[in-house]
Every structure is written in structure tokens, then in C-alpha cells.
Amino acid sequence: MTPVLEARNLTVGYYSPGGLFTKPLFLPIVHEVSFTLQAGQTLGIVGESGCGKSTLGRALLHLIPAAKGQVLWRGENPADLPRAALRQRRADMQIIFQDPVAALDPRMTLGRILSRPLATFEPSLSKADQLTRVAEVLHRVGLSADFAGRFPHELSGGQAQRVGIARAIIGRPAVIVCDEPVSALDVSIQAQVVNLLMDLQAEMGLALVFISHNLAVVRHISHEVMVMCLGRVVEQAPRDAFYARPLHPYAAALKQAVPQPDVAAERLRRGQSLPGELPSIARPPAGCVFSSRCPKAQDLCRQVRPELTSYPAARTAACHFVDTPP
């Protein structure tokens, strides 16, 4: 089956503005990312701030052009589509943001916010049908129909994120990129939103790209996990294999660093934190991106960047010293 979303050696970056005598400089943020995503599946993208995960998410939606490589939507490259066709195809590809309140226009009622995608993607729909669809989608995300008359400032964070999800699904998309959708929410609300996304996925066959820094949340929703470090994929694996044993030392360190509500386990981890910080993405190291913090690093790691290599159980990792799993 043609994957609903595919990235082939995708490289994305930004241009630093040039001066009078200097040419604009290209600064790559995401390097050579490849994956395929089928309908009904979730790809979890994990990494710390500055690893390029949000830039990757936006590039997948063709909001930032690919510098090298391709993004494919159902096998088609959005960069090749004419403007009008591209606009129509965007109905298939939606996004949910981290700050749910900031993502809603404060001067619009929720009804207007939610009917905007319909006006764009299904202009033939009558006003009455639009209202029905808005009421339907509000109900689907667990809000009553009278929310259509409210304004964003009247919502709690969890309610605002439900509206964000409603706006993303009202055009019946194939893919939703969720950029840290629960990190701004209270713990008791996070689980509600994750459950809603999983229910919608089961009902609508949605493919999700779930970007998060929290490996514990990603574990519950993802089928496949991709770990990024300084703009590069360092490990990619099916969920169960990954959580049983991450292959890359950075992935292992991330997993180890999420504090668990277990006093005995956390006491053992005290004093075990990984020292140092990652270098700036503007000045990446010559060798492995993790070499400056890696407990296993050798001279080779600081000089030669390890390639992403395949391992059994459909997983890949970029490390010179992976202990191959038994």
C-alpha cells in the first residue's frame, strides 16, 4: 500500500540573512531523514529542544520546503503540485500545536475557528451543513455544541487542545502532525487528550506523527519511535523493541532521564545523570552528534560520524559501538 506519508533523505534548514557583502548562509537543521508512515499508524519523534523535531514536523506538512530529498503525500511530492491543487491537498495534512490557547485566534468564536477549514476545503458546503459539521466535531472531541459560541479565552488548556484537535479533524484528514500536543497540559488532562487521539485514529484510520520530548507518553501512542539528536536520526525502531532495549546511547540516556513515580528506582538513579550539554546545532561536532556527552565515546566517535545502520527487528541506529541484540 502506498504510505500516506513518506520522507526520503529529507534535509531541511534555514538561511541566515546575508549582509551587504556576505551571501546568505544555509544552516541545515534536519539531516537526511527517511521513514514511511501507513494509515492508522503513529510515528513518535523524540528528542530534546533544538534537535529539529518541530522543524521536521513542519517540513512534513510542506510548510518549510525541503532543501534536499523529498516529502511524499500518498506518493506525490507536494512541491510538484500546482498551487490550487496543493491547497486542496492540505485538507489531508493537519497539525496540532503545543500551546493550545495561542493556536486559536482570540477574536473568533470557536464556531468560526472550526468552520474556517470547511470554507477553504469544502466551499460548496451550505451554511447549515457547516454548522452541523461543527456541532458534530465538537461532540466528537467531547465538548458540547454550545462551545461554538464561546471564545478561546473562556477555555481551559485541555478544552483548547480539544478545539485544536477538532479543527484538525473537521476536514477528515489522513495525517495529523502533533507537535508536543500534551506537554502544556496538566497530567490528569494529558491522558484524556492522548486517549482522544488514539480513539480518533482507530475510528478514522488517521496516521499520526507524534512529536514529544516525553518517552513515557510516546510509548503509549506510537507504533514506531524515532529518536533525534542535533538534527539527525540516531535510532529508529518498532515501539516494543525500542523500549525493551534502546540501541543508541543517547536513546538509552533519554529513557533513563525521564523521572518515574517510583521512589526505589529513582533513589538508584540519583547521581547517575548524564553530564554536559549538547553542542549548538549551528556548530555540530565533526563526528557523532552525541560524542561530547556519550559515556561510551572513543576517538573514532569524535572524528567519524556513524552512519544509520540496519539491525535485526526492523530497526536502525547510528552508533559505532552498538552491542547487537541477541
Binding site: D186, A191, A216, L254
Partner: protein, 331 residues
């Protein structure tokens, strides 16, 4: 109003809160965000205050430091080494704040002065509050920066806040707070804005320094994982009231209050069973509004009884534990 639960060992404690309440006046009247909280903290102990948004956990800290907004007012008593912080004149409170009490805020960027070099900001506390000569204060600042593992501390002291990463700034804040060797450190979600591997470093650093200097920490957080990592004891706050408190280990292995149980169940873990649906707590956290006569958690509680229309008192429940729930004894 009389204290609901008399606590023992009044004098052994560094900090004793007795019926501490925080109110905000506004046009419609008055909102109570912290309601009659009584807690004790011994020297060298780390006490976690856990709650969601609107639980009053940050306002509780602010009231101790005299940092409530203009329309805020604290009542009750907050005895710090026997001195009531709430009734101290501003000058006397200011002397305490520099010498024995420090605070770390959630956002390290907005808490540092962008126009002042890091070293000068750190030294200011010593110069102002402890009359340490400037050169000596700067030298101590550099030593402290080195202590919190800021690389090349002598040079870093001459830099400005924007030249540091988020994790480094938070370590600078910790250095600043600990430089005056406070007896009590108030920490308001100090690691929430940090990446997980940096959070682990900062938590390690805080436990290490606290155990060395005997500094007690009142640690506000929403993350039960962080509680497990750093806290000795924990109090769970909901709607401005303590629902349950006790040793961190007991609370995390056998929480008694339905809210505490819900909070633990909804915290995703790396090793729990993968289910098609995560456990949730229905409804949304309380925000603002008048204090309910009922238990604040009653509208969301799955185990609600008719008795829950009145607020249950906080009563002793097992060794070193207290619980405010009518279900007590029935579960």
C-alpha cells in the same frame, strides 16, 4: 479558626505552616486559593508540594516570600525558626530573604537581570545582605558557579544571562539561591522548563548541595516522577487544600486519596502495561471561583459519597500520614 490538625514536634521544625490561607481581592469579592494549610518541614528535609494548575501550590510559596500580587493577602501563621513570616515588617522579611530564605523560579530567563553580569548578580546577595566585601563576594560567586558545574566559571561570571542555555541559567539560579547558604530553599517548578537529561542533572545537583549544607527545600512540582527523585515527604494539594500528605515512598506506593490515586494512575510510566486507553481523571482541574463547602475534588471524584458535600478534615492516617477524605476507613 482553630488548626484542624495539631502537629507534633513544633519546635524541631524549621518551617511550620499553621492554617495558612491566601486570598485575592477582586471586584466580585474575594477568592481563596490556599485554604488553611498546615505543614511542617524539618532542617535538611525536602518536602514536595504536588498539584495541578489552580491548586494554589505556587501562591503558597509566594506568600512565604512576601511576593503575592498587590491584591493578595495571606492569613494564618508561617513560623520560620519561630518567627512568623506573614507578620514581619517588609524590612525584616527582606533581611531574612537574603540570608536564610531563597527562592528558585520556574523560568530562569525572566528571573535574571539581562543587563547585569552573572557574577555581579550572584555577589549582590552577599554584598547586600551579609556585608561581604565586593571582591570576596565575587570570588565566592565564582566558586559557587564552579560548584554547580558551569564550565570555566571565572569567565562565565563576566557573561550576561543571554549567553547561557536554559539549563545553564537554571544552574546559575540555583547557584544564586544557594550562595547565601539559606536554611530554606523555596523551589517553584525549577526543572519544568528544562530538557529531561538537564532536569536529571539539576535535580541531582539540588539533592547533593542540600544534603551537604543541610538546606531544607520546599519543592513545588506537578510531576510525581520528580517527587520520587528528590522529595522525602510530599503533600498533595487540590483546590487550595491538602488532600493527603506523608512520606514520598508511601504516597507513591499506596496513595489513599482518590485524587492522589488518580494522579499516580494518569502519570505515564516507562514500564506499565500498554492498554488501549490510559487511565484518566474525568473533568478539569478547578480554577478560581469561590471555595466550595464540599471537598474540592468531589465534582471529579469517582468514589463520591453523600458526605462529600462537606469538606472532610485532614486527619492522621497511618504513620506520619494525614488524609482528608470521607472514604477513609471504607477502602
Amino acid at each position: 479558626m482553630a488548626c484542624e490538625t495539631p502537629l507534633t514536634q513544633m519546635n524541631a521544625n524549621l518551617l511550620s505552616l499553621r492554617d495558612l490561607s491566601v486570598h485575592f481581592a477582586h471586584r466580585g469579592g474575594q477568592t481563596t486559593v490556599v485554604d488553611r494549610v498546615s505543614l511542617d518541614l524539618a532542617a535538611g528535609q525536602v518536602l514536595g508540594i504536588v498539584g495541578e494548575s489552580g491548586s494554589g501550590k505556587s501562591q503558597l510559596l509566594f506568600s512565604l516570600m512576601g511576593l503575592l500580587a498587590g491584591n493578595g493577602r495571606a492569613s494564618g501563621r508561617a513560623l520560620f525558626e519561630g518567627v512568623d513570616l506573614l507578620s514581619l515588617p517588609p524590612k525584616a522579611l527582606d533581611r531574612l530573604r537574603g540570608a536564610s530564605l531563597s527562592m528558585i523560579f520556574q523560568d530562569p530567563m525572566t528571573s535574571l537581570n539581562p543587563y547585569t553580569r552573572i557574577g555581579d548578580q550572584l555577589a549582590e546577595g552577599l554584598i547586600h545582605h551579609q556585608a561581604v566585601p565586593r571582591a570576596q563576594a565575587l570570588a565566592e560567586a565564582v566558586r559557587m558557579l564552579d560548584r554547580v558545574r558551569i564550565p570555566d566559571a571565572a569567565r562565565a561570571a563576566r557573561r550576561y544571562p543571554h549567553e547561557f542555555s536554559g539549563g545553564m541559567r537554571q544552574r546559575v539560579m540555583i547557584a544564586m539561591a544557594l550562595l547565601v547558604k539559606p536554611k530554606l530553599l523555596l523551589a517553584d517548578e525549577p526543572t519544568t522548563a528544562l530538557d529531561v537529561t538537564i532536569q536529571a542533572q539539576v535535580l541531582d545537583l539540588m539533592s547533593e548541595i542540600a544534603s551537604e549544607t543541610g538546606t531544607a527545600i520546599l519543592f513545588v512540582t506537578h510531576d510525581l516522577g520528580v517527587v520520587a527523585r528528590i522529595c522525602d515527604r510530599v503533600a498533595v494539594l487540590y483546590g487550595g487544600r491538602i488532600m493527603e500528605d506523608g512520606p514520598a515512598e508511601t504516597m507513591l506506593t499506596s496513595p489513599a486519596h482518590p485524587y492522589a490515586r488518580g494522579l499516580l494512575a494518569t502519570t505515564p510510566r516507562m514500564d506499565d502495561a500498554l492498554t488501549p486507553r490510559l487511565p484518566t481523571i474525568a473533568g478539569t482541574p478547578r480554577s478560581g471561583g469561590a471555595m466550595l463547602p464540599s471537598c474540592p475534588f468531589a465534582p471529579r471524584c469517582g468514589a463520591r459519597l453523600p458526605a462529600c458535600d462537606t469538606m472532610p478534615p485532614l486527619r492522621p492516617f497511618g504513620p506520619e500520614r494525614r488524609l482528608a477524605c470521607h472514604l477513609q476507613g471504607e477502602t
